[in-house]
Symmetry: C2
């Protein structure tokens, strides 16, 4: 419907047709899963929380040992240029930093950065409960948003069969994070989420700011027992926003319906995003006046 | 020196120039590390233990949930065709089965299989001791040879600084396997190696057959304490063959020199490979007569 005639991508700073955004099979990102990435929504042409996502990309790169071939300001320029080239109809951007071609399959030479736009379904505008499945697994180098999703991909069929939207990882004692989102629980009107040993979630950082205006917030580990006994559970991520969780592994959470805190936080998050977009669009309008 | 004028690769059964062996950035192998592979040596035009490697590729694919787009007989034909096209000078073959392009970055559509030749340095002909470093880590889905090497890549600099050739993983109690090879220890003239919860090593399978002709063999877990106290340690893999390990984390194993069992097994392995190559070359010669 709104797909532009030519869809572009940016490969190491150069505009290329989307179909031409390829890497060689000798790329360490493909051959050794030596790659980190970011994905973020675009609303009304505004890339949501772009600076925070690019800062996290730089942090992920440092954590796994990949040098960033272009600085974050150059990458931000690339993203804006790509959005202009592909507008309208873009709903998300994917930035991949890959190890780059390596003839021996081991030695790092020059990393590659590829920016593509995605046409994901828009974020849900109604607050609806969803379900999770759990799996015992700890991500490698959890502070990095690496491309290592093998467990999640392996569980994709099980997840879909269960009607679940994500896989919640735990270590047998504590829950950590979902494969594609961060998790928080409500216990006695307190929002509890783990921030150590997990990916620093851009959405959760935003959500905690909003939550502190309305309720107590604790940043600490959550046991599997607390998860089962929680009054409410929610996930948040850059693609889906805030999603109330009403059942885990087929067992209802609380009353098995969307709770008041999750509902309020979901709405507050949507409003926060709308304010962010309005402010950036105002800035863009001012710039082009 | 012996590089052919055009180097070829095989992409989903089709011959393409090596430089053209690319995948799109939307490929799940790149975006979600949803890929498995095999690498094996080629000696005098003979791909070493080809059938065993392709059988393991099929097993890995099943373990992670990737359908094999071409059956192993077709893949074997691809390998032979590629060796003929790129001969001489090929020392190894890499077969990558990747999740394939996926516009939403999650949904599996059609996996891609890419076969390339590598020009690795030849296997060492002298038996020399090497060193390892250790790292606490358990590979995801260890029975699959997946491309998930994030920990190994992250440790590459540390490993090189230590002069080590590989990283030995352990779970805090038992050792499991190296990032790129299998491990065995000699305890009281018995060769001990773990076969469960680790990748089924093609080289180790071959080596155990040879070892049983000369010494007792036990297949079981090895504790970190046993590793430190072992009389001898060795690794084996398809790229390097059998390599005696004379130090781990800077501490000598046994006398800190190549022990008699490791030396004998290394020699026996090289002879086994030579017999395999001679038999296959005989077969090839008979076929073409």
């Amino acid at each position: 419907m709104t797909t532009p005639a030519t869809r572009w991508a940016i490969l190491d700073g150069q505009r290329v047709p989307h179909e031409g955004a390829t890497v060689h099979v000798s790329d360490l990102g493909l051959r050794r899963a030596f790659a980190v990435f970011e994905i973020f929504r675009v609303e009304q042409g505004v890339p949501l929380f772009l600076e925070t996502h690019l800062a996290r990309l730089a942090h992920s790169a440092g954590a796994v040992g990949l040098p960033l071939p272009r600085d974050v300001d150059a990458l931000a320029g690339d993203v804006h240029a790509l959005l202009e080239a592909n507008a309208p109809g873009v709903t998300a951007v994917h930035v991949l930093l890959s190890g780059g071609p390596s003839d021996d399959g081991v030695t790092l030479e020059q990393p590659t950065c590829v920016i593509t736009t995605l046409d994901l379904p828009p974020r849900a505008t109604t607050v609806t409960g969803a379900t999770l499945i759990t799996h015992r697994h700890t991500r490698e180098l959890p502070e990095a948003k690496s491309t290592n999703y093998l467990s999640a991909m392996h569980l994709a069929t099980t997840m879909r069969a269960a009607g679940a939207i994500d896989v919640l990882y735990h270590d047998g004692v504590d829950v950590t994070e979902c494969a594609r989102s961060a998790l928080a629980v409500v216990l006695d009107d307190t929002l509890v989420t783990r921030r150590k040993g997990v990916l620093e979630s851009v959405s959760m950082t935003n959500l905690l700011g909003l939550a502190r205006e309305r309720m107590a917030v604790e940043e600490r580990a959550i046991t599997l027992g607390e998860l089962r006994a929680a009054d409410e559970v929610l996930t948040t991520g850059s693609v889906r926003g805030v999603v109330p969780i009403t059942a885990i592994d087929g067992r209802p959470i609380g009353a098995g319906t969307v709770g008041p805190h999750a509902h309020a936080l979901s709405t507050a998050f949507a409003e926060h995003v709308a304010r962010y977009v309005a402010a950036r669009r105002g800035g863009l309008a001012a710039e082009t006046r």
